[in-house]
Subunit: 125 residues, 2 copies
DNA sequence: ACCTTATTGAAAACAATTATCAATTAATAT
DNA sequence: ATATTAATTGATAATTGTTTTCAATAAGGT
C-alpha cells in the first residue's frame, strides 16, 4: 500500500494550505477550478489520507462539517458561532489536563479536545 | 407556543434519566418498549426540546452520534474510544480558560467544550 | 512496453438528523 | 361535558456530511 503521488492529492493539499480552515466542500470548490473533473469522493479520500499521515490536521467541531488545517501541531480553535469561521488559539496546549481529573476509575486518558465558542471581532459589529 | 405535557415527552425524559448517556437511538429503543407506536422523529424532537429548556444536556462528541445527559450542570466527559461509553469527569469546570488565550483579536469567548478521549478501565483488560 | 496495484470518478449507500404535513390530542374556554 | 385551537404526533421524505463500491485509469517499478 505504498502511497503514490497524484495530481489530485497535491491539489487538495495545496488548497488546504491556501484556504483558511476550509471544510471538504470548500476544498472541493477550490480544486475543481483547476481540475474540473475531480470527484468529491477523491477530495474526501485525500483529505483523510493527508490527515492520517500528519500532513494536515482534521478538526472536528461541535457544529457543522469537519475542517482541515495546514497547521499540524496541537493547538486549539475559536469558532465564531455567527459566521462559522475558525481562528487558531494563541494558547499553548494544556499540559496533561487529565491530572485535574480526580479519581477516574482507571480510565486512561490519551488525548483531549478543547474548543472555544464565541463571536469574532467582525461579527460583533 | 406554550409547551404541553405529552406522554411521549415524559417517556423520553424518563429514558434519559434511566440510561447512561444514551444517544437518540438508544432512547428510542427504550421508549418504544412502553409505547410501541412512537416515532423516531418524536424522540429527536423531544430530546431537543428538553435540552433547549435545560431539563437535560446534549453532548456533542468528536465521534459518533450526540448523547444526552440527565446531569444538567456544566461538566466534562471522558469518552472511551473502544466501547464508546461516556463517563462524567470528576473535575470542576475550567474557570475562564479563555484568559489563557493571549490577544485573540477581539474575539469574545462565550463558551467552551472539553472532551477527554482514552480507554476505560473495562476495555483495558 | 508491461505488470501490478494504488487511485480515481461516478454513483449509490450510509448515518444522523431535520423538515413536511395531515391527523391527533392536550389545554383552555364555553 | 363540549367545542375550540394550537401544539404535538407519526410517517415519511429530505438533508447534510461522509464513506463505500466498483469498474476504469494511471503511477511507478521491472
Amino acid at each position: 500500500m505504498e502511497r503514490r503521488n497524484t495530481i489530485q492529492r497535491s491539489l487538495v493539499a495545496a488548497a488546504v494550505q491556501k484556504l483558511d480552515h476550509p471544510d471538504a466542500e470548500q476544498v472541493y470548490a477550490e480544486v475543481v477550478r483547476e481540475h474540473p473533473h475531480i470527484s468529491k469522493a477523491t477530495v474526501y479520500r485525500n483529505l483523510n489520507l493527508l490527515a492520517e499521515e500528519g500532513a494536515i490536521g482534521k478538526v472536528h467541531l461541535s457544529e457543522g462539517a469537519d475542517r482541515f488545517d495546514c497547521r499540524t501541531g496541537k493547538h486549539y480553535h475559536l469558532r465564531c458561532r455567527v459566521c462559522g469561521r475558525l481562528f487558531d488559539a494563541k494558547m499553548p496546549p494544556l499540559d496533561a489536563p487529565e491530572r485535574l481529573l480526580g479519581g477516574t476509575d482507571g480510565f486512561s486518558v490519551e488525548d483531549h479536545t478543547l474548543e472555544f465558542i464565541g463571536v469574532c471581532a467582525d461579527c460583533q459589529k
